[in-house]
Symmetry: C2
């Protein structure tokens, strides 16, 4: 943990966990494949040398509602506390998930939503895509909305490399679903790139 008592040295920056720590929550409803997405994202991020990732599912009274979530903590070096404290990135695929977890997002954190399923957005500072709709119309399988979202997260945040993400999606996709999942990833990557360009223009 960062030691607040040590004097600051201008030319000797010590790499502490808090410098690099990045917290992500993927949320929505059960059946949207958010744990799969969390496992894939964590594994892909950790392919980068020196990066560590811990991916967590919590089940308990608060998880017995309809909202489902997968948490990730990423850091260069050791991760001392493996549960998110204040999110850098929140993906919300349902209104319930957005309502439940938006308070856990940092003030300047990145909110990515399904903009057809989340209709009451608590901020104007978000990026929205119709993930579930696109999964149906573009890929023909509503279940791959999670992987479209992973692609968008990759392009928008840059937290993971396209190469690693593609490899891990291919590795972990259930038998017979790899083509659809890779098409979904490609779509998400393109959507995210377009959104980033628009945000910068």
């Amino acid at each position: 943990m960062s030691n607040g008592r040590s004097p600051s040295h201008k030319h000797h920056k010590v790499q502490t966990e808090s410098d690099s720590r990045y917290e992500i929550r993927l949320s929505g409803s059960g059946g949207q494949g958010l744990i799969f997405a969390g496992v894939v994202l964590a594994q892909a991020i950790a392919t980068i040398d020196g990066r560590n990732a811990v991916q967590t599912q919590s089940y308990g009274p608060e998880a017995r509602g309809g909202a489902s979530r997968a948490d990730l903590v990423i850091a260069d070096g050791d991760i001392y506390y493996p549960k998110p404290m204040k999110l850098d990135l929140l993906l919300a695929l349902t209104q319930e998930a957005c309502d439940s977890y938006y308070p856990d997002l940092k003030e300047d954190g990145l909110l990515i939503i399904d903009n057809q399923l989340v209709t009451q957005v608590p901020t104007s500072n978000y990026i929205g895509f119709p993930f579930v709709q696109l999964a149906k119309t573009e890929i023909g399988v509503p279940m791959v909305a999670n992987v479209i979202a992973l692609g968008a997260i990759c392009s928008v945040s840059g937290i993971v490399s396209v190469k690693a993400l593609t490899e891990v999606v291919r590795l972990r996709a259930p038998r017979g679903t790899d083509e659809k999942n890779l098409a979904a990833l490609d779509l998400g990557l393109k959507l995210g790139k377009k959104a980033r360009k628009e945000a910068m223009a």
Copy 2:
């Protein structure tokens, strides 16, 4: 957290995390479906009122080897530290996993192994089943060794109810695989029950 300073009251047992905390690691090689097994087990355990479960995957330098693992921490009430510290139960489906994680098992912890794949067992106090072999010969799908192991863990440890485990396996089994997975669970339940009877005889 348990408060060591409070005086002990004979008739007023305070329920602390450490009273009920139970730590499990499911380990083997990538592709053996251990994360799936961890997710299923955590969700099934948390269906019991008041029980909480946190299920963790860690990716980093130590995870870039061949060993794969899924961790669970279970407690009545809040879980303060979500990563295992000393395991109550270790499932090891490969020699490498057994070698890597046996030192993390409590002295009186429960070691369950695939006794065809783990040939050098570091203790005589273990329970072994040929999970992968049985998955091939009895169910016809080597991939369900993970679910046979879940069934055995259920019968041997009693940490989860048969009903909850069956429900969650059915819910989470990939499309078209639920019959094979339920048959695998049933086989594991029977094997575990038999082993427990033999151990008690």
